[in-house]
């Protein structure tokens, strides 16, 4: 697909996205979550797909945003929307700072050491939050009630998350075309060479993680209000669910591409919503099977598969043999 077709596709998708919650009011909560999933996959892919650093710990930033927003709403005494947006912004900023600190510590590690260190960070964050009285310890926090009826609430969150996803998408579409995006890809392809060429690889990696952290923090701040409940292990720092879904959705769609994570998130979320309610108690078994299945039999993802199948559509020249 060339650039013009992609723009047309993006606009068509945006129009559908804007109309969808109005046409199907019963599914607004699921649609809002769909955009959250798209945000998860896109932000994971900045470091995981483009830079080749597979993180299991991005959920830390999400949880930080969730807690920051919940604390602001509890303690500031401001109006609902003001407190919400303030909390989201604060969550994003704290997430950036944490990403800078964590990045300087763990982003020097390579490959699987990085993956396991981030896995440890994610669970450590959950356990620490579960022991901290100020944020409700193990019993978590509840967020204030939305002023207005539930239908309007879900509509608000649909458009909020869609707006966020659209901003992130446009930002990434631009970013991946700049020198910065090329530097990230260079690090993925051969970090030692990239460093030898004079790229400050540590800086690029940390900044990439900070971008992901900022948007995850903001998203987390709002998701706390959508779910109305912040639990340290099950919603905020939910490594075994959200933390793994991020990775899985990006791989399913095709990691290291702009559209892959979006596609993967949509396919994953729709499948999940259709199947999950029929699998009561067996959902995690199904999730485990899906992970193993995708990783073992379909590691290149949907877009990667399509690229192999129809290379000429992706701008690759095919020699007739």
């Amino acid at each position: 697909m060339n650039g013009r077709k992609q723009t047309v596709l993006a606009i068509v998708i945006a129009l559908i996205a804007l109309a969808l919650p109005l046409v199907t009011p019963d599914y607004r909560a699921q649609i809002a979550l769909l955009w959250v999933m798209v945000l998860f996959a896109m932000t994971w892919d900045i470091l995981g797909g483009q830079t080749g650093y597979n993180s299991f710990g991005n959920v830390v930033f999400f949880g930080i945003g969730m807690y920051a927003s919940a604390v602001v709403q509890r303690d500031s005494g401001l109006d609902y929307f003001l407190a919400l947006f303030l909390g989201m912004g604060l969550g994003g900023l704290i997430a950036i700072v944490v990403a800078a600190i964590m990045g300087s510590l763990v982003l020097r590690m390579r490959g699987h050491y990085f993956a396991i260190a981030t896995l440890g960070l994610g669970i450590a964050a959950a356990e620490l939050a579960a022991g901290w009285e100020f944020i409700g310890a193990g019993s978590g926090m509840t967020t204030p009630l939305f002023p207005g009826d539930p239908g309007v609430q879900y509509l608000f969150f649909c458009y909020l998350f869609f707006g966020l996803a659209a901003v992130v998408f446009c930002l990434l579409a631009w970013l991946y075309r700049t020198r910065f995006g090329l530097a990230l890809n260079a690090i993925r392809d051969n970090e030692d060479k990239a460093e030898a060429m004079g790229l400050k690889t540590g800086l690029y990696k940390t900044v990439a993680w900070m971008i992901a952290a900022f948007f995850l923090g903001i998203t987390g701040g709002a998701v706390g209000n959508l779910l109305r409940f912040v639990d340290p292990r099950d919603t905020a720092f939910a490594g075994p669910t959200y933390g793994v879904w991020m990775v899985l959705m990006a791989i399913l769609g095709g990691k290291g591409t702009l559209w892959g994570p979006v596609l993967g998130a949509v396919v994953f979320h729709v499948t999940q919503e259709v199947l999950w309610t029929h699998l009561l108690g067996w959902q995690r078994v199904a999730l485990g099977l899906i992970i193993v299945g995708i990783v073992v039999f379909f590691p290149q993802g949907i877009l990667g598969w399509a690229r192999e199948r129809w290379p000429e559509r992706f701008g690759h020249k095919v020699e007739a043999s």
Binding site: N54, V106, G120, G131, G281
Partner: protein, 300 residues
């Protein structure tokens, strides 16, 4: 927290108590860690389901006690069942990811671990389970220090398993083939070793080690479907500290970790014990990396 620390200084025997408890559980960590080192060294796979195998071994021994069978029989039974399961999982899944990027195998075993957690939850429910071994507790120093006999048996059992494993790796043909494959899989293949079978055997042995460790865990401590991951992380830490294929170092690191963790659990409070394990993991990895970075400076 400070109170607990002060208590330690007031009552030195408490330190002895914590050290004994820590070292005894550390031996079980060491067994699971050695299995992980084996798989890592031979197949270049980091096995995230390690902890779930430990838990499954524990649940098998627990199931035997439900049927009225002595849980000590659970040690060999769990080892055999998990050996077969490990071989099955190798041929079904691990075989397909063994030569791929390490992240792929990491994610595949992570998926397996989620799968097994929920399966165990469906079969045995989400309660914390223990098995009564029927052994009593020794009291030393005027009842100030307690040593439960089953933990001591677990310690001895762990050492016995470690010794048998060394003998197996040194003396038998299969053990030699495993060591040869660890050194150079390609050369091993050239010399006529069926590396696929060696991988399967290695993975099965790892699962069996975890199963035996789990049977001790359920007698001396407790098992729960969702507490496998800390065991994986402990194994990983021990292997990172001790290196691959260095059994004495693995045992030392295991005992040290057990002691450190029990101490931390007492001083920080039990609710932070798991947090301590994961923070320690990150700290060890960061430390390892700065040491590597220091070595690298010579190249500049």
């Amino acid at each position: 927290m400070a109170d607990n620390l002060a208590l330690l200084f007031d009552a030195p025997l408490l330190i002895v108590q914590l050290l004994i408890d820590g070292i005894l559980i550390g031996s079980i960590f060491a067994v699971a860690a050695y299995g992980m080192a084996l798989v890592w060294g031979v197949m270049n796979v980091i096995n995230i389901v390690q902890g779930e195998y430990v838990m499954l071994g524990g649940f098998i021994a627990f199931q035997l006690t439900l049927w009225g069978i002595n849980p000590f029989l659970g040690v060999p039974v769990a080892a055999v069942i998990l050996f077969l399961l490990g071989i099955g999982i190798y041929y079904g899944i691990i075989r397909r990811v063994v030569d791929k990027d390490m992240f792929i195998s990491l994610l595949a075993t992570f998926g397996l671990s989620i799968l097994m957690q929920q399966l165990m939850n469906q079969i045995w429910g989400s309660q914390v389970r223990t098995a009564q071994s029927g052994l009593s507790t020794w009291f030393l120093f005027d009842y100030q220090v307690t040593v439960s006999q089953v933990k001591l048996v677990a310690f001895a059992g762990a050492l016995l398993i470690g010794g048998l494993l060394i003998l197996f790796l040194k003396r038998t043909r299969l053990g030699q083939a495993i060591r040869a494959t660890a050194q150079n899989p390609r050369a091993a293949r050239v010399l006529g070793i069926d590396t696929n079978k060696v991988f399967a055997a290695t993975y099965g042995i790892n699962a069996a080690l975890c199963g035996a460790a789990g049977a001790f865990v359920v007698m001396a401590y407790s098992v729960h479907p969702y507490t496998g991951l800390p065991y994986t992380v402990r194994s990983f830490m021990i292997v990172v500290v001790a290196g691959l294929g260095n059994l004495p170092a693995v045992i030392l690191a295991g005992l040290g970790l057990g002691a450190a963790e029990t101490m931390a659990g007492f001083v920080l409070g039990v609710q932070f014990q798991v947090a301590f394990v994961f923070c320690l993991l990150v700290a060890i990895l960061v430390f390892r990396n700065t040491m590597l970075g220091r070595k690298r400076r010579y190249l500049k």
